[in-house]
Symmetry: C2
Subunit: 126 residues, 2 copies
DNA sequence: GGCTTGTATAAGGCTTGACTTATAGAAGCG
DNA sequence: CGCTTCTATAAGTCAAGCCTTATACAAGCC
């Protein structure tokens, strides 16, 4: 599943937005999402699975709870697709400034580490 | 159709990438896409329709040709979704610098104009 | 151990969207 | 005009993904 397919689902986007405020248990997320979208607990759990398996979220167990958190690397990678188009709407910045603003220089290693997951170039075309 | 659903398709992403190098006719695009993905001419035309109808591409007729070009506004808007997560991978910039880098200040009017299209808040949640 | 709470998986139905082939429409040329 | 080129639309098939209900599993408590 490509990154943009993952982000194509409004429920998964919402889950990530909630997680952006800090980690949360499956139950907490479930209550928020169920109240907002009116879907069942298993449906939420299935979305969490997708986020896990595609690397957009990480989990850790704490007692009976499962605590989810945002994993930034795949998000940063998806966002990088827009690089080819930024010149259409961003004011000119010198190259170094742009790199700094984009975080490419300081985050290269992190991106490499985190993308050890998969989804690198799964299809024919990326 | 949400922006990320549009971008979820690898063929549509590829079309936009090709168009990033400048406008091209449906036929030129068709030849590239067909050779790369092995799909039919109508399939390409249908993808072009989606890009047109969602505002990601514009068309103008020139004789018998139909010339497509990138329309940056919806792309910029889709990219803006990542704003909530940039702090995870971007180095700190003072607020003004960030706004400049993002192009929000100088492009606000363009974004407003172009989003007259639709897709603003089509579903219950955005 | 048995109950309760928290979470995940299984199985099946339904919808959506992307493809195909066939065909239509529009512009230019002889 | 009739033919060719370029592009779009129509209709139908098929697969993928998201949902539901039912159920399983895991941890803590009595």
């Amino acid at each position: 599943m490509h990154a943009f397919d993952v982000l194509g689902d409004p429920i998964r986007r919402r889950i990530l937005e909630v997680l952006a405020d800090g980690e949360g248990s499956a139950g907490e997320l479930g209550r928020v999402i169920q109240s907002e979208f009116g879907i069942s607990q298993p449906a939420v759990s299935q979305h969490l699975r997708v986020l896990r398996e595609t690397g957009f979220a990480t989990v850790r167990s704490e007692g009976v709870r499962r605590l989810y958190a945002v994993n930034p690397a795949p998000l940063a990678q998806a966002d990088a697709w827009f690089d080819a188009f930024r010149r259409f709407w961003e004011p000119k910045l010198d190259a170094l400034g742009t790199e700094l603003a984009r975080g490419r220089l300081t985050q290269k290693k992190d991106a490499a580490k985190a993308s050890a997951h998969d989804e690198e170039t799964p299809e024919t075309h990326e």
